[in-house]
């Protein structure tokens, strides 16, 4: 794949690492006390991933380049990259339907 780093431009995929889905929220960040997070909630955050076949939001790190992380909307089947946006930004409206 060719990936366009928001800071460096288009580079080969071997410069990047895939960091999993970008929509995983860390429950501990929201609440400060441990006993408020149930084992089930914690397990959900730690282990459960959707493993999407199709369009998914992921985070990628340009670790053999500038070192920055960013988000990507990618089709996990065709490997087509639809959008790339910075950390903290939201994917463009209607990203889920980009294939239709």
């Amino acid at each position: 794949m060719k990936i366009t780093c928001p800071w460096c431009g288009e580079r080969g995929e071997e410069e990047f690492i895939h960091g999993g889905p970008s929509n995983v929220e860390r429950p501990a960040d929201e609440k400060n006390s441990d006993d408020e997070i149930s084992d089930a909630q914690w397990a959900e955050y730690l282990f459960m991933r959707e493993n999407i076949k199709g369009v998914s939001c992921e985070r990628w790190g340009h670790i053999h380049g500038c070192g920055q992380w960013f988000n990507m909307v990618r089709d996990s089947v065709s490997h087509q990259i639809h959008f790339i946006y910075k950390m903290g930004e939201q994917p463009p409206e209607g990203w889920e339907d980009v294939n239709e």
Partner: protein, 987 residues
Amino acid sequence: MSDLFRLNNKGRINYDKPISFRFDGKIYQGYEGDTLASALMASGVRIVGRSFKYHRPRGIFSAGVEEANALVQLGLPPYEEPNVQATRVEIYQGLIARSVNAWPNAAHDLLAIVGLAKPFFVAGFYYKVFKWPSWKFWSPVVRRMAGLGTMPKEADPDDYDHCHAHTDILIVGSGPAGLAAARAHATSGKRIILVEQNPELGGSLLYERDELDGRPALDWVADVEQRLREMDNVTLLTRATASGYYDHNLITVSERLRDHKGPGVDSHMPRERFWHIRCKQVIVATGAIERPLVFPDNDRPGVMLASAVRHYVNRYAVTPGRKILIATNNDDAYRTALDLHEAGVQVAGVVDARSYPTGDLVKAVSKAGIAIFDGHVVTGTIGRRGVKSATIAPINLNDNILAENSQTISCDVVATSGGWSPVVHLHSQSGGKLRFDEKHQCFVPREYVQDNICIGAAGGTFDLAGCLRDGAGKVAIDLPKTKSINTGPLAPLWDIPTNLDNIRHRKRWVDLLHDVTASDVALAARENYASVEHFKRYTTTGMAVDQGKTSNVNALAILGQATNRTIPQVGTTKFRPPYTPITMGAMAARSAGKLFSPLRHLPVHDWHHKHGGQMEDFGGWLRPFCYRQPGESEHDAITREVLAVRSAVGILDYSPLGKIDVQGRDAAEFLNRFYVNNVKTLKVGRARYGLMLTEHGTIMDDGVFVRLAEDHFWLTTTSGGAAGFVQWLNEWRLCEWPDMDVVITSLTTGWGTISLQGPKARDLLSRLETDIDLSRDNFPHMAVRCGILEGVAARILRTSFTGELGFEVNIPLSYVTAIWQKLMAVGEDLGITPFGIEALMIMRTEKGFIHVGADTDRSSIPDDVGFGPVARKKKDDYVGKRSLFRPDAIRDDREAVVGLKVIGKIPLRIGGIILAPGHVTAPAPMEGRVTSSYMSPSLGRPVALGVIKGGSKRLGERVKIYDFDHIQEAEIVAPCFYDQKGERLNV
């Protein structure tokens, strides 16, 4: 002798350049332009190899990458290469080749006795016959009898390179379609790369007697080539095979630069370039490969592809035989009859499964007076060492039966054609879909996923004019005029009927290279291996060197017939890279030998080396294991080093230690989220030993962190964990907590570390010029001081991994050697002793300090190393904390680190198994294992650490330890054997 089968035409052979070579020990001669296959054919060599399982004699079958029989072991050590297709080897002076899977040679193979063991090797034989006593028992036997070439034993002396390129258009294949495409797009100014697997451009035009604009087609090829070579935007790569098609139009191409010159010639150049070409558009013009017909004994030397026969005749001016019978179900094979006739070779006839074929080529053959047996098929071949005659019989294609009235035709070659299969490999690898073309009975590209297009025969266009038109596409260029040829339809014929008794039990070969027969296919279907992916693996069809280029479609069709399915219903297996075999060297390129996994050198490497340092690989660093003095054994050296540290002072190059600088307003808050210890309460100038966890609560790394200022920290990690921990911190900073004001800088290779350990460490360090107060009261244990040392900026930590008074002196890398040498000079009378990793490991084991990765594994949590109370008491959240409260983390039989006091004088073996109570020997349930173990020079007895279920709750218990050779006994003790009170640290 050498030109026995050479013809009078010119071909593409340079008769002025004779070349002699050796095959199976005999010397032969060919000419420049010959392949090993054509040169052997010219000399009348019929048997070139023995088959994979049954050692059947086999002859040259094709003229290209689809070759299934003529495999050779090419060259001598160290330039040996196994399983090379003789049809792809351009001969060079002194070439040496031998046949594979034959002994002593292909012509007289004593291993052919295996042929008698035929019932053993039916479909799925791996799973059936060798079940008893076990595959392990049988595999050496089978591997000796079956198989192909032998693995080279010496390292490959050649160099290989990786090359990267970007292009607007990549054209794969330089046949009529590819060349027309190149011409059409070249004038647009776009960057174009054209790759051709052959040494010459032209594709099928190299061996077909086609005319373009009334001239030989190769004149047109030469014109186009000349024009392309003059253009700066066009790159031509020959002897270059597009081997793989990956995401985002990345194509790999292996370019063979000097194989045709012979081993060792021009060795200043790389042998191959492995290209990674990123393309805006890919034009796949890879042509098609002919399929053989399947009939009894169709593997005898002399049975060949019909197109290959005219390939040898027209391109190499050599004939495979004197009297050639042609077997076909289509018009195309009639070209072979015409070309042979033109070259003066006798054609025994054309056996055509179709009744009353009417195409232009058929008419031409008829006019030439060549017999046409229409409505007939070949039902067998005769001849022990090659075809001597063939039997034919009438066939009723509608009812699929043979008539009884067969006849025998004398011939020495059967040229067979069952139609053509487009080379859709790259298209399929790109993710593109296929559809079955009923007219041509082959798979053709259907749907494109990436920006590519298949043209010419690769796209299912088989006539010359169509190929040229495909190539030009929408670009208006003058295309050369072609003769139009009327072609009749092909009749599907995948396997011949078996209603005649005398042929029913004769083998009909489908995959020649893996010795798979039509009966094997039927057997697999009967055993319900009907899914094409299962079928392929069960029978191993298409899994050999040729990857089934001539056998796959036939096998699918026969599987379909056996399971009452059409070919599209059966489907195809996925085409995977590489298209043709690639050398390992090309893939590894420069990442071989010393550069395979380059080792890092310490700043004082040369000094260590010169002073007896036994340099070894520790986590990617070359570090001294110990320093041996003349006449000293390793054991003596290690003992001397340990005792020197314990009694005087030792010096250690500790530079690989991970060093990370963290600064910023939020540095304390940020780091507090990674350590099980409290970072925020650490005072400036002080250090703390800490653990860092994964989010699963398991130990990721350990190390000392120090506070240099309110907003400035310095972290150390294990040398192996340094890079990963920096990346880990950055991922959290950038993805989870982007608002925090933190800057993380890795200093591992920017600063070197000299560790001074031992009771005289302070005396030694004081002898250097420094503004740092080193006194006991002003520089206590677990403190840090920054200052100037011998004029160099230094950060000195008072820490210890040995249990003795210790200073870790950190200085910019370029000064490490100077400071090291100064310390060695001024410390001589103190008994300064350089020590290596082994002494360090012994001393930390004596002290019971854990070594992450040795005493812990990927499932260890803080509780397992005695850090449970600290980790659980900490109020603030940190990475991995919540996981410490999962049921698995709080069960009380977790394996935890303990000391093992050995009963007796022999150290335990690392990895030794602690047996469950009540058991005196194995087998027994495992309670734990030994993780660190040494003979302690300081104590004169063995010391060990281990993990055991229940950990420190079992202090005082005696356990049995089994290490495959011995049973030993040990007492579970607290993990510290030396200076339990830690008094030696605070001196």
